[in-house]
């Protein structure tokens, strides 16, 4: 079901909640940007599988994404971490599960399970490359360094996402924080190739089952 939660950025945001509160409850931090769309079905299916094992979970909209009214251009890795921390506290979660770039915005004080964590620089590199490819198709030659320099000061539209200067600067150096990391789950542990690679959103129920089983095993360990 959908629940609203107050983000300190000023607006209420929505979250998808699955399972009853009161016991173990996991904050699920989605992959970022384009990868969030590619992994949406997979992410929600993992949550459904967790519910079958008696584990509740919450998938918040990061400010500027999905149903959020906050402008994406004002967001950065740090504003998303603050929002994730707000959501964790509001929903009383006990653990965090991050997918890909979601690892970059995890709250510092909760145990975190990270699925295929990605660095900010690798996410940014792919998005800048996508922009350069589509510009080239339109007959415009762009230079990576010049684009990044512009982005650091004025922000940049990358792959359809309007990113502000803070986001660009923070992505350049963002690493998954390992403060409270419980474990990393690699794609190889699930079998098959990561669904974020797909040209179009796709689903693989066996991968969702595998990730949910690994999360359950980790929490019961």
């Amino acid at each position: 079901m959908l629940a609203a939660w107050p983000s300190s950025a000023g607006e209420d945001e929505y979250a998808l909640t699955i399972g009853a509160s009161g016991g173990t409850r996991i904050l699920v931090l989605p992959a970022l940007f384009d990868e969030a769309n590619k992994l949406r079905h997979f992410t929600v299916e993992v949550m459904r599988q967790l519910e079958r094992a008696g584990i509740a979970s919450v998938l918040p909209d990061l400010p500027g994404c999905n149903e959020s009214r906050a402008p994406l251009a004002y967001q950065s890795i740090e504003t998303w971490r603050e929002a994730a921390t707000d959501a964790a506290s509001f929903f009383g979660v006990t653990h965090v599960l991050t997918l890909r770039g979601g690892a970059l915005v995890a709250p510092f004080r909760l145990p975190v399970l990270r699925y295929a964590p990605a660095t900010g620089s690798s996410i940014l590199r792919a998005m800048v490359r996508a922009r350069m490819i589509s510009s080239k198709e339109a007959g415009i030659e762009e230079n990576r360094e010049a684009l990044l320099e512009l982005g650091r000061h004025q922000g940049l539209e990358l792959a359809g996402y309007r990113l502000g200067p803070r986001m660009i600067r923070e992505l350049e150096t963002a690493e998954p924080a390992d403060g409270a990391a419980l474990t990393n789950i690699a794609q190889g542990d699930l079998g098959g190739a990561g669904l974020w690679l797909r040209a179009e959103p796709d689903h693989d129920p066996s991968q969702a089952d595998a990730l949910a089983a690994l999360v359950v095993a980790e929490l019961l360990a």
Partner: protein, 98 residues
């Protein structure tokens, strides 16, 4: 001589060819049979509507990771992505250090 140290036969495909087909299978979500049926003339960017710029960027990054090469920005152009044969030729040249 120990048989297990013999090189594994790659059949008609080179190692680069096999890995490149695997990457395309994973990106396009195709069955192994369909990717095996790719010929050098099979069209890629511009022929496959699902292969937009973000997907191509992901494809190139994955090729870099799995084949241990670096593809420079100015090497990426429509010609290299036009067909399977063009992409394979580019990657093979890269792997030889070209």
């Amino acid at each position: 001589m120990c048989m297990s140290s013999e090189p594994v036969s790659m059949g008609e495909f080179s190692e680069t060819d096999l890995i490149l087909r695997e990457v395309l299978r994973d990106v396009l979500g195709l069955s192994p049979e369909r990717v095996e049926a790719f010929t050098l003339d099979t069209g890629l960017f511009g022929h496959l509507p699902e292969l937009d710029s973000m997907a191509v960027a992901g494809l190139l990054t994955e090729i870099e990771d799995r084949l241990h090469i670096i593809i420079e920005d100015d090497e990426v152009d429509g010609e290299m992505l036009e067909s399977y044969g063009a992409l394979l030729g580019f990657v093979e040249t890269k792997r030889r250090g070209g």
